[in-house]
């Protein structure tokens, strides 16, 4: 689904990503962890062609280069760290329909898609509201809805759990687990990664320093501490534990 080969990104003489290579098979959910400034967010932006980079990125066989960008962005959906950035239209419905309309859908179809996405995230009653009047949890779900309406094959999440209360966080876990498609989730909330992902990449100083099954990677105390991370509580309490997306979810 996603192939990345020697990806490099520099911003104003700072190398944010220094030669990253990995690939994600179709349908896999992968966590991306690392300390602040490791280059996680920049990597996500590069995968959608939103920052200039050198190296090679292929999404579903399609190379991420300027002339393919429109097609690439049909397949890739990003849920940004700050949902306020993602909800820029005056009403929620307009926001969720923004992507489908840009895909070239007719108004009726775009409307149906938008309503469908809002329904699936439990926001049907809020279509005409301004996102300013939503709670943080609702706003995060709304941000997911804006991407869901575009039906991407690759989902990129940037810190999706920030500012969420425990209930909203559990709700987010449920939402991520129910997504179809391939997921790459960058987060400091390592428990969230354990709850939703099968595999985990560790990034530090612009490089991928570890890659493997989520419990093996995040349970490795030495590895975690050498990269300013820690073994998540969930793994300390039950190292055997349940497979991701099997935890009881709120109805």
């Amino acid at each position: 689904m996603l192939e990345v080969l020697s990806l490099q990104v520099s911003y104003h003489d700072v190398e944010a990503v220094r030669g990253v290579s990995f690939s994600l098979p179709e349908g896999e959910r992968t966590g991306l962890v690392g300390p602040n400034g490791a280059g996680k967010s920049t990597l996500l932006l590069a995968l959608d062609g939103l920052v200039p980079f050198s190296g090679q990125v292929r999404i579903g066989g399609l190379e991420v280069v300027r002339r393919n960008l429109a097609q690439v962005r049909r397949q890739v959906g990003i849920v940004f760290a700050d949902s306020e950035d993602q909800l820029f239209m005056p009403t929620l419905l307009e926001d969720v329909a923004f992507g489908p309309l840009n895909l070239g859908l007719e108004r009726d179809q775009a409307l149906a898609r938008a309503r469908g996405a809002l329904d699936r995230l439990g926001l049907q009653g809020m279509a005409e509201r301004s996102s300013h009047h939503l709670s943080d949890g609702e706003r995060r779900r709304a941000a997911v809805a804006t991407v869901l309406a575009m039906r991407p094959r690759l989902w990129l999440f940037d810190e999706p759990a920030t500012n969420l209360d425990p209930w909203a966080r559990r709700d987010l876990v449920r939402v991520i687990c129910q997504l179809e498609g391939t997921v790459l989730l960058a987060s400091h909330d390592l428990d969230l990664v354990v709850q939703t992902c099968n595999r985990c990449l560790v990034m530090d100083e612009g490089r991928v320093v570890a890659d493997g099954p989520v419990r093996q990677i995040l349970g490795d105390e030495k590895l975690m501490e050498s990269h300013r991370l820690e073994v998540p509580l969930r793994l300390r309490l039950s190292p055997g534990g349940k497979a991701p997306c099997r935890s009881p979810s709120p109805s």
Binding site: I78, F80, F88, M89, H132
Partner: protein
């Protein structure tokens, strides 16, 4: 904040609220043009447009206090335009200061009065439009009347992020007060200036991120929206009647002006 109150008023259900926003915009523009075309004398010519705007406002069932309050806030600007006319225009002296200066002329005073009344009528008409039309409808209507999309998009973002900006500036202010409860004078101004700079920086950063979020959802320079605007027969009727009446007002005004 005031724009929230206005939004609430604007989402009412009166016949005026239900009128197509484009019709309202065209009528208000036509009204402003008609009023500005009226001769400054006799004052009787302003009776018809004043009646029109009052009837229009009463049909909108708006709270008068709020409407007049908003309008009074704009009037000083109109006054400023008219204020110098009595001293600079005309021959017939109404009043002369003991030292021989300044001099108030009759023609200038009448002209100032006319300018003030015209301004006030125009402001009332714009108020009628703004208080009966949700902001988004207004923008959509402006876009469909061919206002450049960059301007429409900018206004739309301003509307969306105004509250956020206000919240942010309140937070910055609180944080500043928490550390410097009694800053005053120069130091106070310097601190306030610093926060304004920070706020601007944050707004620019956000603009950058919003743009990326738009690009990632396929933005290509055209903002596409769901709603379609359709003129009902009532809208067409109101438009035709309105424009006809306004033409009559101008012609009648000229006739009266010619006789005076």
């Amino acid at each position: 904040m005031h724009h929230r109150t206005i939004e609430k008023l604007a989402s009412g259900t009166s016949p005026v609220h239900r009128l197509d926003a484009r019709v309202k915009i065209i009528l208000v523009l036509a009204f402003v043009v008609a009023v500005s075309l009226l001769p400054p004398q006799p004052q009787l010519v302003f009776l018809a447009p004043a009646l029109l705007v009052l009837v229009a406002l009463s049909r909108a069932r708006l709270p008068w206090g709020f409407v007049l309050g908003r309008v009074i806030m704009v009037l000083p600007f109109v006054l400023l335009v008219a204020a110098f006319l009595p001293f600079t225009r005309g021959q017939q002296v109404l009043w002369r200061a003991p030292g021989g200066w300044p001099v108030v002329f009759r023609e200038g005073t009448l002209l100032a009065l006319a300018v003030f009344v015209k301004g006030a009528l125009a402001v009332l008409a714009v108020g009628w439009l703004v208080f009966t039309t949700p902001f988004m409808q207004l923008l959509r209507a402006l876009r469909s009347l061919r206002l450049p999309r960059v301007i429409v998009a900018t206004l739309s973002f301003l509307f969306r992020y105004l509250d956020l900006l206000a919240d942010q500036s309140a937070r910055v202010r609180r944080a500043r007060l928490a550390r410097s409860p009694r800053l005053s004078g120069r130091a106070g101004w310097r601190a306030a200036g610093g926060s304004v700079g920070r706020l601007l920086q944050r707004a620019l950063d956000r603009a950058e991120r919003v743009y990326l979020a738009m690009l990632s959802r396929g933005y290509d320079g055209e903002i596409r929206v769901l709603a379609r605007m359709q003129l009902r027969p009532t809208d067409r009727l109101v438009l035709v009647v309105g424009v006809t009446v306004l033409t009559g007002v101008v012609l009648g005004g000229w006739w009266l002006g010619g006789r005076a």
